[in-house]
Amino acid sequence: MPYKAMLVALAVASLSLLTACEQEVVFHEPGVYKGKHDETATQEAAERRQEQLRERAMTGMTDR
């Protein structure tokens, strides 16, 4: 069956790929964020906006 043969060939090929690039494989660290960096999530960014957000809350959330 050509289909089965193809699958086998693919499996072999991918195995050899794995063995060939050991240094570049990233091991999974569970629970650690894997996504893109968010500039506005940093400590510095949060500190910068802290006072402004506090004032905003005093303006917008209080009964005046």
Binding site: T59, G60, D63, R64
Partner: protein
């Protein structure tokens, strides 16, 4: 039947977490409970919306300036400011206006979704006319030409009264005022607007009791109340931001009492909730007063000084002992005593009512009964007290004050020769020329005499269908109504849907001038002579608008009109030009690109509307108030410091005299504890000085600092001379004031001198508990025309039929004569939902709102549902006794008591089981359509104002 369309993944039945649970009784309705299926939506929203939404996106272009424009929400009368962010002419963001002392940045669902109005795809995009039953695009020029020619031909054949139009409470003051002026220059009183079917009974009731037809205090002032009664008001859905003040008052210790046939979301926050039978408010009020008089809790000194005729009320109240009250209203002695005592012990107390108290055949009796309760407790004319009437539309108060009313002129000047002569002078036209514009043949007054059409109230919006359908011989005008224009008004807010359909079909001309097609475009099977004209929303034109508390806020224009829309004023100008009276009508205005500027229109209002103090609010003053919002105190609405120190926010009328006199506006009406120049006052002397030998003027009571210490009549030239104050007028003022009263002296001199002496220009009188010019001088209970308690009609019968009332024969007794309660055992009442407004077309075309309520429904008590064999969520027929039927969903809930069902009135686009989608112009149908509740409502009108009955009729509910 499938109630919730599931999108597979989005709703796993085993899902935990509150966002996935059916969250309320309304939850089975699509959209209101669960994340609604994308499939259901994909079918509803065309690809174009997605495209448009992308274009509307809130991503600012870093290269272009973002402009902040302050405007006012258009969805109720609270008057919430909002800040629109506009870039390159596109409304890209909406920010809270924290500075506004009215809303402090807050909004309800509608207000928070305003930005969509600036992007809506569901508008009427260009003028259209119906050709062979299909909509066809035409140009504005062609539309004005054709409509104008047809109107002129009808005028030629049938006279000016054959054309009737509904103006709008959603137009700005300037637009609404031009609508009234348009009718006058066309030569007819046949114009009306939403107030007729909203608070007309309130306006007539309170104006006749104490002077002005408006909310006496303000939303903000409720902060000072110690007790709050809400009767027939569901503010949590109809005026959500008002609840901010109400709940603040409650947190400060005020007792909140809700009296309503339905356990509303407002009732859910009350300290005391009283359920009573719909249609029995007079009995309910007299039941409270019975306890108050019985225990001598009334304010005797206040009544002696400031109230006329309370002893007549006392006689009527004596009949309403606790047993009789329970027999009629269903409320027992203890509950009545508790409420009466709470009101007596917690003064000042305020009384809030809305449509639940007005839309009845005896609505004006309800209103006056509420007034009498407040007068007996001494609660009117004090901070924290008052009659806090929450009005409906954003500018319904303004449109009532100076807009298209069939029964008076701007500023409530009467339709008598004096009123017309006054406005002719302001308008700069010859009275005789204006009089010649009107029908010259006289009409029957129904009492064997005749009246001149110019002095005769026109046909009301509640009855226009009878003006079309009634036998010509019975209509007290030259011909039937043959042409109708809905200029900012949905028809599904009016009762008797099936008859309305016939009326639409009989018309020779129908014009719908509105941002949206509305139900007027689709209800009927017309083939020709039907036009849709795109009129801009409030956000596409500037102008002032009067909130419920009488503050005139200035709305800036946010964006240019979308598509081919035109502002109200420009449309008025174009049509008037075609009809041949533009030169006279617009002579006082600055016209820019066919558009009379709102500032110049408001200045004309300032020069004419002395009677209600719409004269001090120049555009400059209003704009300065809007710019300095944060200087105003939230409770007193008074500016503290700054350039406006001491003035009240947006100069609530009356703001007497010229702008230069710097009257600060009136926060609380009739408040004697303040000087007139601080917004103080007293009750109005509008009904003479005595009756049957009893004085009508105040006794031993006057506003602070008044030099006349006691009652006095309205000011006029004679009174000034009598007081020796005449020479305080300047020579120019004298020349103008000679022979005039304070309401007709165009110099404002009489007002200036009166106020200088601390006196109120409108006199100082008592409030009238006895209104002798009403059909019921003391309010009495009368059973609704369609009553579930037909056995009570012998004791509490309705009125005799009348041959001519607002030009039409009007029936009461002959309708009530038949007992429908066996075939139609349920009381049918109606009301608002928070997501929608009015007839609902605009809000049902806003996807953010439409998603939240996708189905028309009827709330029915579990017992009634079981009796009718109806399950929760089932499709049912709701059938009215006049034959109208609604195919809707049943919501089984204890929110309504046994024997009462409730429907919301915002839906439209279905008619007796049929979806009218195909009749809308392509792409202009609202996202959500449903049966109009008014397809099943019935005949019934107030005997003073022609208010329609929508709160108490009968129906039956059967499985579909």
């Amino acid at each position: 039947m499938k109630l919730v369309k599931k999108s597979g993944s989005a709703q796993s039945p085993s899902g935990s977490g509150l966002l996935r649970k059916p969250v309320s009784r309304r939850a089975f309705l699509r959209g209101s409970g669960l994340a609604v299926g994308g499939a259901a939506v994909a079918g509803m929203i065309p690809g174009t919306m997605v495209k448009k939404a992308k274009a509307a996106k809130r991503v600012p272009d870093p290269r272009a300036e973002v402009k902040q424009v302050k405007t006012v929400c258009g969805h109720c009368s609270v008057g919430c400011s909002t800040i629109a962010e506009v870039q390159n002419g596109v409304w890209i963001g909406q920010e809270p206006a924290f500075d506004s002392p009215i809303n402090l940045g807050a909004h309800c669902a509608k207000g928070a979704a305003l930005r969509n109005h600036g992007h809506s795809q569901r508008r009427v995009k260009y003028p259209m006319k119906m050709v062979g039953g299909r909509w066809q695009r035409i140009s504005w020029d062609q539309a004005i030409e054709e409509i104008g020619d047809k109107l002129l031909a009808i005028r030629e054949e049938s006279g000016p009264d054959a054309f009737w139009f509904a103006g709008s409470s959603k137009a700005n003051n300037e637009g609404a005022y031009l609508q009234r002026k348009f009718a006058a220059f066309w030569g007819s009183n046949n114009c009306d607007h939403q107030a007729r079917i909203c608070h007309s009974t309130t306006v007539a009731g309170v104006a006749n009791t104490w002077g002005y037809g408006a909310q006496t205090n303000s939303y903000n002032d409720i902060n000072k109340a110690k007790a709050i009664i809400m009767c027939g008001s569901n503010a949590a859905e109809a005026h959500p931001v008002a609840m901010q003040m109400i709940l603040r008052a409650k947190e400060g210790g005020a007792k909140l009492i809700v009296m309503d046939p339905r356990f509303t979301r407002t009732a859910a926050h009350s300290d005391v909730y009283v359920r009573f039978r719909s249609g029995t408010d007079v009995a309910l009020m007299w039941g409270l007063l019975w306890h108050i008089f019985e225990n001598e809790w009334e304010d005797k000194e206040y009544i002696r000084q400031r109230v006329y005729g309370m002893e007549h009320v006392r006689e009527e109240v004596a009949k309403w002992n606790p047993q009789e009250v329970e027999r009629v209203t269903g409320v027992g002695r203890d509950a009545m005593y508790e409420v009466a005592k709470l009101m007596a012990d917690n003064r000042p107390g305020t009384f809030v009512w809305c449509m639940g108290g007005t839309q009845h055949t005896i609505g004006s009796n309800y209103v006056r009964a509420y007034n009498c309760l407040q007068l007996a407790l001494g609660n009117i004319g004090v901070e924290g007290g008052g009659a806090n009437i929450f009005r409906g539309h954003d500018n319904v108060q303004g449109a009532t004050d100076i807009g298209p009313n069939p029964d008076n002129l701007p500023g409530y000047y009467p339709l008598a020769e004096g009123g017309w002569r006054h406005w002719s002078r302001v308008w700069g036209v010859d009275f005789d020329w204006l009089a010649a514009r009107f029908e010259q043949m006289e009409y029957s007054d129904g009492r064997g005499g005749t009246t001149k059409p110019m002095f005769t109230p026109g046909i009301t919006v509640s009855r226009w269908i009878d003006g079309v359908l009634e036998d010509k011989a019975n209509v007290a005008q030259r011909d039937n109504i043959r042409a109708v224009m809905f200029w900012g008004h949905g028809p599904n807010s009016q009762t008797r849907g099936p008859e309305m359909k016939r009326a639409f079909e009989k018309l020779d001309l129908l014009v719908v001038a509105d941002p949206y097609p509305t139900v007027s475009a689709v209800l009927h099977d017309r083939k020709e002579n039907t036009y849709l004209l795109p009129i801009a929303t409030q956000f596409e034109q500037a102008g002032s608008c009067t909130a419920s508390n009488r503050s005139l806020q200035w709305r800036e224009k946010v964006i240019d009109p979308l598509y081919e829309h035109k502002p109200d004023a420009e449309f008025a100008y174009l049509l008037a030009r075609k009809l041949g009276f533009a030169e006279e009508m617009f002579k006082n205005y600055e016209i820019v690109n066919n558009m009379p500027t709102p500032e110049s229109v408001l200045r004309e209002v300032n020069r004419g509307a002395w009677s209600i103090g719409y004269t001090g609010q120049s555009p400059e003053r209003l704009k300065e108030h809007m710019a300095n919002q944060r200087h105003f105190d939230v409770v007193s609405l008074k500016a503290e410091g700054g350039p406006l120190d001491g003035e009240t926010y947006c100069l609530p009328w009356p703001c007497y005299g010229t702008p230069e006199m710097k009257h600060p506006g009136t926060h609380v009406l009739y408040d004697t504890s303040k000087h007139v120049m601080e917004g103080g006052g007293n009750f109005r002397a509008n009904f003479g000085t005595e009756r049957d030998g009893v004085t009508l003027l105040a006794e031993d009571s006057w506003s602070k600092g008044a030099e006349i210490q006691g009652g006095y009549p309205q000011f006029d030239h004679a009174l000034l001379k009598q007081l020796g104050w005449w020479d305080e007028l300047t020579p120019e003022e004298k020349a103008e004031a000679e022979g005039k009263s304070w309401t007709t002296d165009l110099s404002g001199g009489i007002i200036r001198v009166a106020m200088k002496h601390g006196c109120h220009p409108f006199g100082n009188a008592k409030a009238r508990a006895l209104v002798w010019n009403f059909p019921d001088p003391v309010p009495v209970h009368r059973e609704p025309l369609y009553t579930p308690r037909h056995d009570l009609t012998a004791d509490y019968p309705t009125y005799e039929d009348r041959a001519v009332f607002y030009r039409l024969p009007t029936r009461w007794k002959s309708v009530q004569a038949k007992d429908y309660s066996r075939e139609f055992p349920l009381i049918h009442t109606s009301g608002r939902l928070v997501e929608y407004e009015g007839a609902g077309e605009e809000t049902r075309s806003n996807p953010y709102l439409a998603e939240l309520k996708q189905d028309m429904f009827v709330e029915i008590n579990p017992a009634d549902a079981n009796n009718a064999n109806v399950r929760d969520g089932q499709t049912v027929w709701l059938e009215g006794p006049e034959g109208g039927r609604l195919k809707i969903k049943a919501l089984v809930t204890n929110r309504v008591g046994r024997g009462t069902v409730f429907t919301p009135f915002h839906f439209g686009g279905h008619f007796q089981g049929e979806d009218l989608l195909a009749k809308y112009p392509e792409g202009a149908a609202p996202y959500v359509r449903g049966e109009s509740t008014n397809t099943a409502t019935t005949y019934g009108y107030d005997a003073v104002t022609m208010m329609q009955e929508t709160k108490t009729t009968l129906c039956r509910v059967v499985p579909a």
